[in-house]
Symmetry: C2
Subunit: 359 residues, 2 copies
């Protein structure tokens, strides 16, 4: 039997509304609250649930605090005092400081399961919410020694309802992990992008897809990121210091005309192995099993649609696609990933239909 | 009238063979040479031209040296001495050192137009060549004060035949530009990826699309990159030193609990503005004009094909697509870019056909 029939979501922003939408899709009764009445109304209008009514409501099975890290402990204390739910969790992207502060405020840690669903978007607010925001993502659970196992089971079910993979991890280890895989890479991306300020037009015209990839996340909201970094300062500083030392060492070695030693060649070797360690699709190691078939796509109506239709008619499943943009010219290249055995059939089928295939 | 009827390509690797294929598609007679007979034979079998015959051939309109930077000057001197062509160019990714060395070797700089087509792939060798490798890319031309204007006109035509945009730029400015937009970002990507070595599985399971983007180019061949960095050591070292200083400063400010000052918030602000300065599709500034429609795609045969067919049936042109991989679960999300006015029609058409649309 389901542990979650009724839920309270405190915070109707992107994360809270997305969780609420997923719960609603699974028939859970959801009550929402938010200090901003407009956000609350919008989330309710989007079908995320009804507004929380302190007079009428009996305790819910779970309360989810979807608020910034600095707000979570006080909200937790408040709603625990009011007995709003049997189990409590949060969705803040840092965990160690939240737990320390919750303990300092005298929160009941037995019913609180610190959590962090790994979904997000560039946009924010309830209007950006999606019930599938956490689909296929990891959902970190950071129970402490005081956490009741039944509470962990309830939050595990919450993660599964949202389509995520629950992953139990110590809070400090979680914070070090997100410093490594998210927070420090964000700052590094910004540092590379910051060098482009003041570069002349001709230099920027030489930019390719590599630079676009490295700097994409530097387009995120600086204010939001400052808040995240503030709460995970130590672990992020540690990673940034190591990255800075590697880059300074590479610069020194290049000036000393020593590109073949550890500071440059060794760093590139380690970088490639680190890159290969990132899990790919379906949680597995990156699958090098797909073959990539480049196809020229003209900039005309429904070109991609016709391309995929042609592949479909040939009975070939496209596993992934990447579009290489073509600065300066009205054409692009679609890189189609297919099973290696399908390359010849795909190339033939597309060529027969007039596509410029480069398999 | 065309300036290029006959061409010699010295070097049958990825770049040389790709240029040769593009020339052949435009009816140019191409003769190839390569120190590796197997590479030469493969390039010829691929339709890139015939093998160079020193006894039979009269001077070509242009000779393209597609060799590593360290090999270009000696090859240039050799083929100029043999009078193989009226105009000479190269395709090495660094330019200042090549010109200096060519001058030292006594090459004729009036007929030599140093060049750098901005195309490339992760793979190398003639088998990876594509006639469209430079389609829509910039093609840097770095004439010196000694270069004959007629020679520049010929190499400009070469770039256009290959579908690229010729861009005239001073050699030293070129080298600083590629350090900024390509070489230093590569090392920075490797330095972020190198931190992942030794991270435990749980930490890596928290990795999202942002980390994948930042570290993608770190998967490139370290040996190839060491050669590139060796020939552009000074400009790359300068950029890396500045990035390292910014990251070290951010680390210090985070340890000092000062995330709102210039070293962190200021760096993120500059990073966002630098990111926004990168030209996007069709050489224009990034177009924020497309709306993105997320659609859940099941992991089943031809799911993407059916999705694009449905959009095509509804008469809607998909301008771009990105697939968000879903570690751990057999589903993904296709982010479809369409004109804002088409969002409602697309969402309705897809929903009618049973797709889970999140517009």
């Amino acid at each position: 039997m389901s542990r979650i029939g009724r839920a309270v979501v405190a915070g109707a922003g992107l994360i809270g509304t997305s969780i609420a939408l997923a719960l609603r899709e699974h028939g859970v009764e959801v009550r929402l609250s938010d200090p901003d009445p407009a956000a609350l109304r919008l989330a309710c209008d989007l079908g995320a649930g009804g507004p929380f009514d302190p007079a009428a409501d009996r305790p819910a099975d779970i309360a989810i605090i979807a608020a910034p890290p600095s707000a979570v402990p006080a909200v937790l204390r408040d709603i625990q005092d009011r007995g709003l739910a049997h189990v409590y969790t949060d969705a803040a992207s840092v965990k160690d400081g939240v737990i320390t502060e919750a303990e300092r405020l005298g929160c009941d840690l037995s019913t609180f399961v610190p959590g962090h669903p790994m979904g997000g978007r560039e946009k924010s607010g309830p209007s950006a919410a999606r019930s599938d925001l956490f689909l296929g993502r990891s959902w970190a659970l950071c129970p402490t020694g005081k956490t009741d196992p039944g509470a962990v089971a309830t939050v595990t079910e919450l993660a599964r309802i949202c389509g995520a993979e629950p992953l139990t991890i110590d809070a400090a280890a979680h914070d070090r992990a997100v410093a490594l895989v998210s927070h420090a890479p964000h700052v590094a991306s910004a540092a590379v992008a910051a060098r482009l300020l003041g570069a002349d037009t001709a230099a920027l015209a030489l930019a390719g897809q590599g630079l676009r990839d490295v700097t994409r996340i530097a387009g995120g909201d600086p204010h939001l990121w400052v808040e995240i970094l503030r709460h995970n300062a130590g672990p992020v500083a540690q990673v940034l210091q190591e990255v800075a030392a590697d880059l300074a060492g590479a610069a020194r070695a290049l000036r000393a005309a020593d590109p073949a030693g550890a500071p440059v060649q060794g760093l590139l070797d380690r970088g490639r192995r680190g890159h290969d360690a990132i899990p790919g699709k379906h949680g597995a190691q990156r699958t090098p099993d797909y073959a990539v078939v480049p196809v020229v796509i003209p900039d005309e109506p429904n070109a991609l649609g016709r391309l995929f239709a042609a592949a479909g008619e040939a009975g070939i499943n496209i596993e992934d696609v990447r579009i290489d943009h073509s600065p300066g010219l009205p054409v692009g290249v679609a890189q189609l990933s297919v099973l290696p055995g399908a390359v010849a059939d795909l190339a033939r089928a597309l060529a027969e239909r007039g596509w410029s295939v480069h398999a």
